[in-house]
């Protein structure tokens, strides 16, 4: 079954490439994005609330993921969110500017700080 794994990844990537960019119609796009970000919203409302606001960066990783998906669509937003999860609380704390939020001192790392080079 091992050869199936690379094949799965290959077909996944081909499928994503064929799917193309998200819908350009603003109403449909907003609707689809709200569906995609629903799990993040669920996490923010029920899990993060119970766990406490512990993300050392602002916006928080969940909020960052929502913003990234809104700005760049589901695929790129998902990739950017994964990138952020790997960076959260590590070298970015030394490089990014600190800012005071209502949850205390946080490292400022907005989506714009990570997609400026795409424009």
């Amino acid at each position: 079954m091992k050869p199936l794994y690379p094949a799965f990844i290959f077909f996944l990537l081909v499928g994503l490439a064929i799917a193309g960019p998200p819908e350009s119609d603003p109403a449909r796009k907003a609707e689809s994005i709200s569906v995609i970000t629903a799990p993040i919203h669920f996490f923010q409302k029920y899990l993060s609330g119970a766990d406490g606001h512990r993300c050392p960066m602002t916006p928080s990783c969940a909020c960052y993921a929502q913003q990234a998906i809104r700005r760049h669509g589901a695929i790129q937003g998902w990739i950017m969110a994964c990138d952020r999860l790997m960076r959260c609380g590590r070298d970015e704390l030394k490089n990014g500017p600190a800012t005071m939020t209502r949850h205390g001192l946080r490292c400022q790392d907005p989506v714009q700080n990570n997609d400026f080079w795409l424009h």
């Binding site: 199936l4 990739i79 790997m86 070298d91 490089n95 080079w117």
Partner: protein, 311 residues
């Protein structure tokens, strides 16, 4: 109510003069604002940073005293107030009109400089450069060209065009080069080759091995995290497929796709951020050389007070 004739006379005799006196007093309290008062008020508001009030006051001056010789200055004042208030689009419109209406005057020169600054603040750096080039074409005077070259050089610095900036600063006439510390600026700009840069493509390619790109850009903790997460997820997906847990393998594979691509994206992004930060540091070091400096240093038999201001 009907008054007796005698009583009516008394009311008129006493009330009439009283009314007249009060009207005269009211007339004496009337304030007449002349052109000087209005202009001084507007200028004071501008100097004190009350930009919105200054705009209203200057416009009132322009409306009520259209023949006053200070009308061009009042128009410039509205532009300066718009600029001070951060309304750069409106300021650019005012200064653009001034460049057309007062050709050949010193006001036109000042308007061109302010037009360039307004365009720069609007993010239209190329247009700001065109404004200065237009000014240099219109005004052959050496001091104007020097000033335009100086501002143009700083616009090149903002764009990160170090060689163009050095070349433009070099066009300033020798008389002004010392005053503007051109030698110091060009010496610093010559060090632009030493700005450390990271190649984003190299960072992306190195991230084929998760964490390689992050290590290249000096982010060791990110590199270790990316390597461990990706290695763990790849192993988990491999084992799932190996144990014929296809659904689990597919889910883990999908998650791993995001983290693997995110690892490459993060490496490229961190290279760009590294370059951006190094360039910003270099630019800040240059900008510190143009700021107003006030220093006090001991010298034999006294102290030397030094104030440095660029025009």
């Amino acid at each position: 109510m009907v008054f007796q004739p005698a009583f009516r006379f008394l009311i008129i005799a006493i009330g009439g003069p009283l009314m007249l006196f009060s009207l005269t007093g009211y007339a004496a309290a009337l304030l007449t604002i002349d052109a000087d008062h209005q202009y001084d008020y507007a200028q004071t508001r501008l100097d004190e940073g009350a930009f919105d009030v200054a705009i209203v006051a200057f416009n009132r001056f322009i409306y009520f005293f259209p023949a006053d010789p200070r009308i061009p200055l009042a128009r410039k004042g509205t532009g300066m107030a718009q600029f001070g208030a951060g309304r750069y689009q409106a300021a650019a419109a005012v200064f653009n009109a001034l460049t057309a209406d007062y050709q050949g005057s010193s006001l036109q020169i000042d308007a061109f400089f302010m037009l360039s600054r307004s365009h720069f603040r609007l993010g239209m750096t190329e247009q700001a450069m065109v404004d200065l080039h237009n000014l240099m074409a219109l005004s052959p005077e050496a001091h104007v060209i020097d000033r335009a070259c100086y501002e143009l050089g700083w616009l090149h610095v903002e764009q990160g065009r170090w060689n163009d900036a050095a070349q433009t600063f070099g066009q300033i006439s020798p008389d002004n080069q010392d005053r503007l510390r051109v030698a110091d600026l060009t010496r610093t700009l010559a060090r632009s080759d030493t700005i450390p840069v990271k190649n984003p493509t190299t960072a992306g390619l190195l991230s084929i091995v998760p964490g390689g790109g992050q290590l290249y850009t000096g982010r060791t903790q990110d590199a270790l995290t990316a390597f461990l997460i990706n290695a763990g997820l790849i192993c988990a997906a491999w084992e799932s497929f190996d144990n014929e847990l296809y659904a689990l393998g597919a889910v883990i594979g999908f998650v791993e796709f995001g983290f693997y691509a995110g690892n490459i994206y993060g490496a490229v992004s961190s290279a760009h951020k590294y370059n951006r930060d190094r360039i910003a540091e270099f630019r800040d070091a240059l900008n510190r050389r143009r700021q107003t400096t006030l220093s006090l240093a001991p010298v034999p038999n006294g102290a030397l007070l030094s104030l440095t201001i660029d025009f």
